[in-house]
Symmetry: C2
Subunit: 442 residues, 2 copies
């Protein structure tokens, strides 16, 4: 069985521009091996001392982000590039309560746009799931690992990182240490002349800035490539004249359109927000994340973030965590910021995430698979009857919080296509079906 990719969305990485251009130009979408046939353990990536040449995955040659190599990479980023730790501290982890259920695998749902139902169990392979944990009323009711991910391993959170950064910003705002109404340039003077300069911090947090940031991967001059090249920790190639780091790149971004009118999902906003946070708090994003969240959660593993050549963490997508710890973070938000016996994020900050953002601004971005949703503090808010909200990252990373069903789902995946448009149809209806099931409504 193979999966047809609707339209491959290339990843933020140097050296793949030509490949991406080629893929985009192709009339027929490429076929990918399915989950079983792309299982990184079965394929034997990086096994052996040394691994055989055709089983090696390296950073410099770009092989780490090809599929199916990607299925190994997502659990091994630190072995490929420099990273900074997000310490959990050194105490005992918080105890996770278990109440495992055996009635979930057989649960059925109908994927978006499909005519036939699918079982929950089948959805895991369809989604190239690497690991999934479901909490109900704070207890683990379901937990599975596949491929390269293990309970003691870590996995790239991709853009789920953004929701951590947005939560930190909302937390600082609730604590009175960051004023969302102020201009970005008030916190980061280096951004004054950039497209971000006269935007408010709030517009950054909700991604409604008007900036010129092309994600056209077929265009080698697109800002998305400049961003990737600037943040690449390897020495720049001879003749490279561009920015050397995230903080050299961000000031080069131009304005385009008006701030505050439309949602525009652009990763550079989160890196700019990370910069604002660093200036407002006097601490880097990973330091602040450790102090304000990770140490308090009772995390069982340190997390880490990838860094550029100057040591700046990739706020837009560089976080890696253990799966259970991601679930702990979700459970804390479900409980209005309280977890592990303490108020970790102010309830006001969580309320501000859950109430969501400007639906009209969101609608302008044309996410047809997310009708009626909004984006607030770097969270995706469904506004469904359950008040569900999500952190979402490419290739299927997801943290889904359903307050009504008292349910949290943490999922790491390595879907061959970056865009969640491809994976939502077998994910979002499954999550809602499970919510209803746990509530005893079906």
């Amino acid at each position: 069985m193979t999966v047809r990719a609707p339209r491959p969305l290339a990843r933020l990485l140097p050296g793949l521009a030509l490949l991406c251009a080629a893929l985009t130009a192709q009339a027929a979408a490429p076929a990918y091996p399915d989950a079983a046939n792309s299982d990184p353990v079965k394929l034997g990536w990086m096994v052996g001392s040394p691994p055989p040449a055709d089983k090696q995955i390296r950073f410099a040659d770009g092989s780490y982000f090809r599929f199916p190599q990607l299925r190994w990479t997502v659990s091994h980023f630190r072995e490929l590039m420099p990273t900074v730790g997000v310490s959990r501290g050194v105490g005992a982890p918080g105890k996770l309560q278990y109440a495992l259920r055996n009635d979930i695998d057989a649960l059925t749902f109908t994927p978006t746009g499909a005519s036939q139902p699918m079982t929950w169990q089948d959805s895991l392979a369809a989604n190239y799931t690497d690991g999934i944990v479901v909490l109900h009323k704070g207890r683990v009711v379901y937990e599975r690992y596949f491929g390269s991910l293990t309970p003691t391993g870590q996995h790239g959170a991709m853009s789920v990182t953004k929701s951590f950064v947005g939560t930190l910003a909302a937390l600082l705002a609730a604590e009175g240490k960051l004023d969302p109404a102020r201009k970005v340039a008030d916190y980061v003077p280096e951004l004054a002349k950039s497209g971000f300069g006269d935007a408010t911090v709030r517009q950054l947090m909700d991604m409604t800035t008007g900036i010129r940031f092309s994600e056209n991967y077929a265009d080698p001059n697109a800002e998305v490539w400049q961003h990737a090249n600037a943040g690449n920790p390897l020495p720049k190639p001879a003749g490279y004249q561009g920015p050397q780091s995230y903080y050299e790149f961000l000031p080069t971004i131009h304005g385009e359109g008006k701030h505050g009118e439309a949602f525009g999902y652009r990763t550079a906003n989160t890196d700019a927000l990370g910069w604002v946070i660093a200036r407002a708090s006097g601490k880097s994003v990973p330091q602040l994340m450790s102090e304000k969240i990770w140490q308090k959660l009772g995390a069982e593993q340190d997390a880490y973030m990838t860094v550029d050549s100057t040591g700046t963490a990739f706020a837009g997508g560089g976080l890696n965590t253990g799966l259970r710890d991601l679930a702990r973070f979700g459970e804390m938000l479900r409980n209005n910021g309280t977890y592990n016996g303490q108020q970790i994020v102010p309830a006001a900050a969580v309320a501000d995430i859950r109430k969501g953002g400007d639906k009209a601004a969101f609608a302008k971005a044309g996410y047809s698979q997310l009708p009626g949703w909004s984006y607030r503090n770097m969270w995706w808010v469904s506004h469904n009857p359950h008040g569900a909200f999500m952190a979402r990252g490419v290739h299927g990373q997801a943290l889904y919080i359903d307050p009504t069903a008292q349910m949290v789902i943490a999922r790491y995946a390595s879907y061959p296509v970056a865009s969640n448009k491809a994976i939502d149809p077998t994910s979002l209806p499954a999550y809602h079906a499970l919510a209803l099931h746990l509530m005893g409504k079906r």
Copy 2:
């Protein structure tokens, strides 16, 4: 105050060959700022978003291993290069018992070759100590942190790594999974034609192989530079024709002299031993270290190792750990392999370390500051009346175990000079004085 460097021993890293050659050629040794004036926190390395240009430390330009930048680097290796985790698992750490004493700082000892006594407290600054923990009868009696190291941070163990690797080999031998009497080539056929091929694994473990491995840093063709260049995780420079990884480099080492006759401290032996271990166990050194040692110790932090561009860990010096966890490892060995409620390393393996190696072979290496010592299973054995044995790494990394005094000292440091010859005079007599003090003998 400044410290005169007797003879700078350059570090294993590319790009510094010229600098090292210059230093070696200098008639007068350079002066270094003392501990207070080289304090990495006071100097503000890598503080700010971004840090000012003159406060940045980078891998690619070699600044990370210059002094005093080195004092920051030793606690931040993972931010500069790719690493692989040594998981502690996800359970609760073992509880360290505390019985802090306030009579240690005033303890005096006479440094080797000195006429005046020095206090223990003064020795910490003299040694550029980053952190030190002393266990007596299993309880922490003394603990201090300086510079960039914190209780939740990690520090480069440098060649203390070798003693972990040697312990793993001794453990596999005690378990019957590795035969020290067999030839290296029996385990790693790729080494058959190299200088290692007809050496026994025992000779590798005790560093009595006869191999050509120059550590003359002034010679750009010295094997020590080939080793460093091969293991450098960055892409090789244009025109580079040499080996691409540790496992490509090791087979190129030639034989020189007879095996088994003289101790010769050459890092390549440990990397070759790591390879043997990987083949004998089917697991990489960091995997095996996690399973056999780290998870069982009740470590409070994951450790990690630096890796080359193919993901192979630097067995000769790439380990980084929390200071208390290093002390736990020492305490386990003091207790004949038992710790945290279980036999972690077979008692026979610990006994084989403690009994030491060939003193005559050791004497040939000319370590005048270590008279009567020997080297066994990658441990330095004092054969003093207390039966003390040590793990030692450049720039002052040390794990000192005194079974008679029931004392373990774990010290991380960033002494400006690599060679322990410079730091031993204010360290070894201090350790023995503390042992006697804790025994109530002075």
